[in-house]
Symmetry: C2
Subunit: 397 residues, 2 copies
């Protein structure tokens, strides 16, 4: 018999995939350049040429037995040491190779982090709005994901609701800053308050509540925005990083878990990650890409376009009367829809070739996400469509 | 709190790792070239230059947004189609892209296949001797692995014991041919008999018993040995393939699940694999290596050395009086130890700088594995050590 659970998942419709299929079909009719596709969170700028050149050099000059050979289960030792050194230098905390576990992107990192610090039946709290894949990530561990409703004024943390939900059953809290889909960056005040609460509740319950910090957008922060380093606030932090967005390498599947050097159980957690891999069949990311990113830890793609696009879109949305928190990073913006049913709003937008994602899948109905990781020229061309859409569908608003 | 299960796995000693550490330490004393390290199943011949050249070309000439970009969750469509076409051509069965799911090596393939066709609590049967990682692979799914004892005469299947253990609770049977650690290839007779039994029991129990066929050594078969294509024998077969051994690319983490075109639920299983990935954080193998292997599906590394080494070792072991089934493929041989405690035998062997793995970890005590994926010159130099070892430790045998 087939596994009922996974079979039933097939029934679930992916809204984003449906939108993307619509955009592709519409693109065949009118040319994809005329579809204002804000649905997909794919980097729109290429990987730095230096990374590609390094991969070529490794392939041409490296020992093929090493470049194509097995990685140790925790990652290549020299790579882990370089990641630790880079974190030491940048964030002033005493990271060592023993704090680092190399993964297949952030998905792999979160899958390991969750399994390391939860038992089946435990609760994991996260905050709306959040990346929709947190649901299967947590389901796969046997733990239960609960979503703290959004503070829609700021998209920082709604602390009264968090405190209410932070029961004895909570093993871990999962955050994402800079945030997909809101684009908001947690302030130092938010992180301090969160750390204080987790420390207090850990003491009260007599067990550590771990903080899992999903940080694929860490390097995409806009001018003048303070993006504090989460692991500096709370000792028991497991940072989940990916190079997918910062180096535009989503298809290379490369990231890491870094436990805070202040976490007493941190090195044990990293060792446990190697055991978790044996059960999930994950093994390591490819040796080649481990070796390549280790040479470019302080580099990013030319991500300036995302800030340019944010500025254009934010200004226009405000001018059109949208309620909208200004993003501090990422390549997302998450305005409030002009009618309660954001799905209906997004459906209507399709008639203007505007592809936007309703907030329901992010746990925040009534809002919608625009992913502006597209050419600036296209963002600019989308503005008249947006204006017409609003004027015709929501007149007098 | 840390997850007790994974924490307790840290206590388990890996015999192979311990042996490997011994070999490395001893290598520092006397030069690694003087340590006859038969412990590791790593390909000893490099990847074909053509594969490396293709990777370089893709990096230099391909669109960086495609080469470094996300793969669809089931794998790149054109790659799946090429894999299907290659299987169609080679094995005469009507494979389509819809039968193929791209994975991170065989580990990823088995992890997906197991989750697709078992429910927690189900039993999975496999056959001793087997790859030791089958235990965590199955544990991770919530199913229970049971091992059918070996037919040590032939290392084919012990059918009376299999039939005894093939209860109503069995959801899947996991086989590995050519086999690690025995090197034995299942005959057409064995596969026919297995298929008949599974068909009969499936009908009797009213549910399909799936056959999961782990085939990383499919392309390493010695002269004169018939290696029948497992999926041709039994409709409900999930083949788990890896390019690690055939193309000497273990560090690239690339393989696939291919369901038999005759499997009625096959295409559903492949779709389910995409859902399973969402929970394990596996996602796809890197786009780059998917694209690269798709151009070299009919190529292998120069694996002739393995057969040369097998011939030398098998002849010597027989001459020394070992009971030993001649391998038909792989780069392993699995003789009977000259004393009951194979671990003691292997420990004594270290004094002669012979690094061999006791069969206990493969579910077959009293035997030991030699992995002869090393230079032929070293195999030849190991023979005097092997002779001295036997003469001094097991005289008059």
């Amino acid at each position: 018999m087939l596994a009922g659970h996974y079979q039933s998942m097939l029934q679930g419709k992916s809204v984003i995939r449906e939108l993307s299929e619509f955009a592709t079909a519409r693109g065949k009719e009118i040319g994809y350049e005329n579809v204002f596709d804000f649905s997909l969170g794919n980097p729109s700028v290429p990987a730095p040429e230096a990374v590609t050149r390094t991969m070529v050099r490794l392939l041409q000059e490296g020992d093929p037995m090493a470049v194509h050979g097995y990685s140790p289960s925790l990652g290549i030792a020299a790579v882990r040491e370089k990641v630790a050194a880079s974190l030491r230098k940048r964030f002033g905390m005493p990271y060592e190779a023993g704090h680092i576990f190399m993964t297949s992107g952030a998905a792999g990192a979160i899958a390991h982090a969750l399994r390391a610090v939860t038992e089946p039946g435990d609760e994991v709290l996260t905050f709306a709005p959040c990346f929709s894949e947190y649901v299967p990530y947590v389901n796969g561990t046997g733990a239960v994901l609960k979503m703290v409703p959004a503070d829609t004024e700021t998209f920082q943390i709604h602390f009264p609701l968090l405190e209410e939900m932070l029961s004895r059953n909570v093993a871990a809290v999962l955050i994402n800053t800079p945030n997909n889909p809101s684009g908001v960056v947690y302030s130092a005040q938010t992180l301090r308050k969160l750390a204080d609460l987790l420390e207090r509740k850990s003491a009260e319950y007599g067990h550590t509540i771990y903080l899992i910090s999903d940080e694929p957008y860490r390097e995409i922060v806009f001018a003048g925005v303070d993006a504090p380093f989460v692991s500096a606030f709370y000792a028991d932090t497991l940072m989940c990083y990916s190079f997918s967005k910062s180096l535009s390498l989503p298809g290379e599947r490369i990231g890491y878990v870094a436990v805070s050097p202040a976490c007493e159980t941190g090195k044990t957690i990293i060792q446990m990650c190697g055991q978790i891999s044996r059960e999930t069949g994950h093994n390591c990311p490819a040796s080649l890409i481990q070796l390549a990113v280790a040479e470019h830890l302080d580099l990013t793609s030319d991500t300036a376009v995302y800030e340019t696009n944010k500025n254009i879109l934010y200004r226009e949305l405000k001018a059109l009367g949208f309620t909208c928190v200004e993003p501090g990073g990422t390549f997302y913006i998450f305005p409030r829809a002009p009618e309660e049913d954001a799905a209906a709003f997004c459906r209507k937008g399709r008639d203007y070739d505007l592809i936007m994602v309703p907030g329901d899948g992010f746990g925040c109905p009534g809002y919608f996400r625009m992913a502006y990781c597209i050419d600036t020229e296209k963002v600019e061309r989308s503005l008249p469509a947006l204006r017409r859409f609003m004027a015709e569908c929501y007149p007098g608003r």
